[in-house]
């Protein structure tokens, strides 16, 4: 059912241009998050929220943008030492450092944004309980701020790849698609967690744990090829499988395209995006009452 009906009442004719009338009434079902008109109307606010998240993120921390690099590079060093050298996990013939860094660049974005997004509505209680605006801007703003980090760490990754003597090749053109898949997954899961967190504060304890688990389900330290078929394809139901393997193929220019993984993961990412937004949509109307 429609959440608001914009109509020009008959009496509007008496005066000059009359602003439109918005009808407020109890709503059911969907139609809030995916209301393009409503999102467009509040575009300035969306921009300001994203700008705030980005500014604050880089101003509050002493190292600023360096964090975007330190985290994946730090993990890369540890992983290379323990998993690559000591445990001798296969890296499909690639240098283990490059193998893990390419996956970590994607993973760092995903885990950081997911953690922040899950908390985002609760952190913005003052806004949510005092002002109206499309609430999806809050988790989406976190995502936008994360993109700046991603751009920095991707640049570093490509620099490292080139220095190591690898060349991405034509596959690099698939990168935007892979990033889009990752954004869809992050926004879907992140907004659902943010909404759940409003209702059940336990979520904030669940998220770090779930992300740890998710890390091991994603081929960051091991290659998907270490699984047997059909498990490889099935594992791609986790969209980060397609994203991470795709990142490797696309940035390192190695091996053949993992098209089956990317295909399954892309579908799965779309499902998560719509399911997450649909849940957000369902409960958005009660945020101000519950938070």
């Amino acid at each position: 059912m429609e959440q608001m009906t914009a109509s020009q009442p008959a009496r509007a004719a008496e005066t000059a241009p009359r602003p439109e009338t918005i009808r407020l009434q109890p709503t059911r079902g969907f139609g809030r998050v995916l209301a393009p008109r409503e999102l467009w109307r509040y575009r300035d606010l969306a921009f300001q929220i994203a700008a705030r998240d980005i500014t604050v993120r880089y101003r509050q921390t002493a190292l600023g943008a360096a964090w975007a690099v330190l985290q994946p590079v730090g993990f890369m060093l540890v992983f290379t030492l323990f998993f690559g050298n000591l445990a001798g996990i296969s890296s499909n013939g690639l240098p283990y450092a490059l193998f893990s860094l390419s996956g970590l660049v994607a993973w760092t974005f995903f885990s950081t944004v997911l953690t922040l997004a899950a908390d985002s509505l609760v952190v913005n209680t003052a806004l949510v309980s005092k002002i109206y605006f499309p609430r999806i801007f809050i988790p989406a703003g976190v995502l936008a701020a994360g993109l700046v980090d991603l751009a920095i760490s991707l640049t570093i990754l490509l620099a490292v790849v080139l220095i190591w003597g690898y060349a991405p090749g034509i596959a690099i053109l698939a990168l935007p698609l892979l990033i889009a898949m990752m954004l869809a997954t992050t926004l879907g899961v992140g907004s659902a967690l943010a909404a759940l967190n409003v209702r059940y504060r336990d979520i904030r304890y669940v998220v770090p744990f779930a992300i740890q688990m998710w890390l091991f389900l994603t081929p960051i330290v091991y290659p998907t090829s270490s699984l047997s078929q059909p498990w490889q394809t099935i594992s791609a139901i986790n969209p980060m499988v397609g994203v991470v393997e795709g990142f490797r193929w696309s940035t390192l220019g190695s091996g053949s395209a993992p098209l089956d993984l990317i295909g399954v993961s892309a579908l799965s990412a779309l499902v998560l995006l719509f399911a997450g937004l649909a849940y957000f949509d369902r409960v958005e109307r009660s945020f101000a009452d519950l938070i």
């Binding site: 008496e14 602003p19 009338t21 918005i22 009434q25 300035d44 705030r52 109206y132 605006f133 101000a288």
Partner: protein
Amino acid sequence: MSMAIETQGLGKRYTLGLHSSGNLREAVAGAARRPLQTIGRRRRRADSHDHLWALRDVSIEIADGEVVGLIGHNGAGKSTFLKLISRITEPSAGWAEVTGRTGSLLEVGTGFHPELTGRENVFLNGAILGMRRSEIRRRFDEIVEFAEVERFLDTPVKRYSSGMSVRLAFSVAAHLEPEILLVDEVLAVGDASFQRRSLARMGEVAKEGRTVVFVSHNLAIIRALCERGVLLENGGVVVDAPADEAIDEYLRRLERSASDDLLARTDRKPKTGSESRVRRVAVCDDASGQSDVVVAGRTAKVVVEVTEVLPDMHCRLILVNSLGQPVASLNSEVDSPQDTRDAELGRRIECELKSLPLLPGRYRVDVRIEAREKTHDSLQAAAYFDVEPGVLSGRPMPPQGSDGDVMLDHAWRLPG
């Protein structure tokens, strides 16, 4: 006449108690116990006493350019009405039609971020309040000038004094140009001169022909700014009349409710979870023992009876004049060597006002009971009392209608 706001049967229901916030364990356990109901989304409606209608069946029309004051007790539904109109929360029943952009000043400084500079916060806050970027840019200088923070524009707001950030926040809000302005008690911020300028600014906004819906406990401000007054009680409209009439009716009702059994009153906070309630409040003359009439300059006593004496319990009294303006605040938590503890008092708390310095007139007492940082009861207009003319340190009190509410114990030195 075109309507800016029109509502029909508008209502908002809140769920009380645990169900509202819930926790994951209950939800999971509930879903496991009743899988079919959960899947079918046909959960049994909770019992009716779990619900509170904060606003019920409100049908009202507010025309373009009208300045309307909403008055009523705490919990009468004033703020809920503003929240519905500004779309922060969704109605549970009925509908509202709002024509034009609403700017809600439900709280000044909402969304100010301490890490951002004054300049950045102006843009962020403006957008939050519904201003376009171009609009903010156009009015930027005015906003900054009004707030008097020019020199600190590029300093993070966390380094501002609280007065400065409040001024800046209010200034952004005051320069909004919405067709409908919703105001909730914002004028209570800042120092006196800033309040005066703020009030003048609100008056300008009203004169510009914009629709204003104003919520305040300060009846003097409502009287000064609003043409029309709407009195809400228990979530419904009880009086809709010219502001003066509505205010007078509100004052009459307040007095009537003070003489009722206080325990029967529902307009108190918190609604639930309280361990002690105020049973009775009386103001009496210490010498004559006469209740509700005291004489200026003599000792008066405020007696508060509670249902339960709690450990570390404190009482706060606010004396309020007939215009709804607070005159004095008395708080037992800030102790003095003159305070005593006495088991014989039972469930009574007494506050002695030596040589009562109030000018003749009618006053009311708002009371609040706290224990260990938690408010157990808060009640407005728990008692009324009249102050009769008297003598303070040998000097007769000025007659009723003089400026101010208090007489200070003072002495002159005059030449000659």
